[in-house]
Amino acid sequence: MATGSDIRAALASDFTPTVDPLRAAPTPTAARATPNQPRTRQPRLHKKPALRNRGRAAHWTYDTSTPPTRRDRLQVRQWRRAAPSADSTDVEPPASKFAKYDVKAEAPSYDDETYAQHLNHPDWTKEETDLLFAAYEECNGKWPVVVDHYETSTHRSMEELKSRLYSISATLLNLQTPMTAMTASEYSTYEVLKSFDPLKEASRKKLAEGHLRRPRNEVDEETVLLSELQRIMLHQQTLDSEREDLRRRLQHPVADQNGYQYSTSQALTTLWQQLLAADRAKKTQRLRPLEISGSRPSQSAASIADATSATPQTAQAVDMSKQDLLRFGVVQAQEKLPTGISFASDKLSKPRVAKSSLQTDKIAATLAHIGVPELIPLPTPAVVEQFERIMAKMQTLLDLRKVAEKEEQELRVRSAELGV
């Protein structure tokens, strides 16, 4: 963007740029816009204090020395600061700052006798063991370095070397101070040494490596699986209870109470109300409040048969002979009646449709399998009842199959776990 001074400069070449109080420093474009004119520096607005010697300058020396931690007498030239104030704390050469990290690894030593007695091992010769211990000491106990350092004809993995050393250490420790005499810390060390399992370590390291190198989609897949597992664990309770419920439904329930308390019709009706109320509380209702025949509790059938027949029918508003009733198609219904007009053929078609299309397909497949035609053109009450019975059984079957799938999955998972 052209600034004001640019324009002025372009228009009038002998126009000397003045100090613009709004702009502190000269802009480079302003300077460049006048190539024929010499650059003039703008004076500073504020004053910088002149340089001053703040204190005595530190004295540095450039010497050669050997780092204390090295063994090979290397001569190194370094700038080192001479003592700034002579009475300060000990001045160590910088290199020896790192001396504290020079930790020596302590490996127990043994002599030939002990070796012959306790430390013999089919896979390890004495030379190899000695070499291992020497390497361990030399490399300060850093295992990656030890592995590199340790060179024999047979290639040994880090875990093997570790296990050998640890087992020897454990045995030697045990020899020195028998187990009973060990202090707590010694004992814990002993335990740790003894419990080194090379195979487990190797697999653990492989697992960690695999984790490191996982591709993106595996990570996503794993998160999805973990969340699903969490969901399953959360719902384990409800799943188990559902399964138990299903099993109970199939089996003949065992009476745990005396049935004679329900032998009066009044008691029976109260029992029926209780069952109905309990059933209403459940998610899917199995009891139909219509027919009393569907409410058979699991007690003595005889007393119940008497009681139900004694249960008073609701008052009939119609007085017709039985034959007339049949002729005119009048039916005395029991409990709940839908209002208005209903069609019987709906009772044959509506149960086939479930909430999800997948369920509907399953139902259709099962019905076809057992031979129920798709269209039943005759919806008489007997047919409707038969059909409803079939549908109820089919619900059970489908529930069973669903539970079967889940259980199979679980079994597979568990047996896979065990197999590993």
Binding site: R327, F343, S345, T366, I390, L400, L418
Partner: protein, 260 residues
């Protein structure tokens, strides 16, 4: 404003069976105009009929409206009582006919829709197909049962009066001034229930006239369903056995896990 609902008969349901269906013929056919309109290969009749031995359908059904495919002129055909509730047409394609049933006013009920798919081509097993082609008659019917739940008292009265069967009976005059005696002369006793055996209906032979709807047929259907129920039982048993086996395996695994 609708009148206040009259008292209803509690805990009663009145059931009426009726037939919704259609007949189809390959043109030319004597029932249909000749020559047939261009492109129309089939003549068909869609109807709502009572059972041939049953009470009069007009007792409760006052009007039927057939909604044909929109390509037909006057796609909405309304038939009022008493005429036979049928629509004769020619065409070439099958479609769903929406049937609207208007009930008698004393019932106080709104109209209901039922759907019927018009079948023109022979269907079923090969034998059935062959027979249909031979007779040049394809019939597709369904027995519908309308259930009047807790009908009003007026409606109930009409539904239970003996007059409903008058259409089946033959008038036998007893002389002037006296009420004619209605005597039934058909084979089957009139009843709202299904006939015991299939019989030739009032208006013609077997299938098309609804005479095939009988208790015999009902037994057939029931037997078929009973068989299906039996095989279903088997399937359930099978599943249960498998479930038991699975439970044992679960227990075993549980033990094994615990032992590990």
């Amino acid at each position: 404003m609708a009148p206040t609902t009259s008292k209803r008969v509690r805990n009663t349901v009145v059931r009426r069976h009726f037939i919704i269906g259609n007949e189809a013929h390959v043109l030319p056919h004597p029932s249909y105009p000749d020559p047939p309109p261009d492109g129309h290969t089939k003549g068909w009749k869609v109807f709502v009929r009572p059972l041939p031995n049953g009470p009069d359908i007009t007792t409760w059904l006052k009007k039927v409206q057939f909604k044909l495919h929109h390509t037909y002129t006057d796609a909405s055909r309304t038939i009022e009582a008493p005429g036979p509730f049928e629509v004769l047409e020619t065409g070439y394609g099958e479609f769903g006919v929406e049937i609207r049933l208007y009930f008698a006013s004393e019932s106080g009920e709104k109209a209901v829709y039922r759907e019927h798919y018009l079948v023109l081509a022979p269907y079923g097993s090969d034998e059935q197909k062959a027979k249909q082609e031979q007779d040049n008659l394809v019939v597709a019917e369904k027995l519908e049962t309308v259930e009047f739940n807790e009908p009003t008292t007026d409606f109930f009265k009409t539904l239970t009066s003996e007059d409903q069967f008058n259409w089946l009976k033959v008038k036998k005059g007893r002389g002037k001034g006296k009420k004619p005696d209605f005597v039934f002369e058909g084979e089957v006793e009139p009843s709202a229930e299904l006939a015991e055996k299939p019989f030739t209906g009032v208006s013609g032979v077997g299938a098309g006239a609804g005479g095939a709807w009988s208790k015999v047929y009902e037994d057939q259907v029931l037997r078929g369903l009973a068989q299906s129920a039996a095989s279903l039982e088997q399937a359930v048993e099978e599943e249960r056995r498998v479930m038991e086996g699975r439970r044992k395996r679960m227990e075993e695994l549980g033990v094994a896990v615990g032992a590990k």
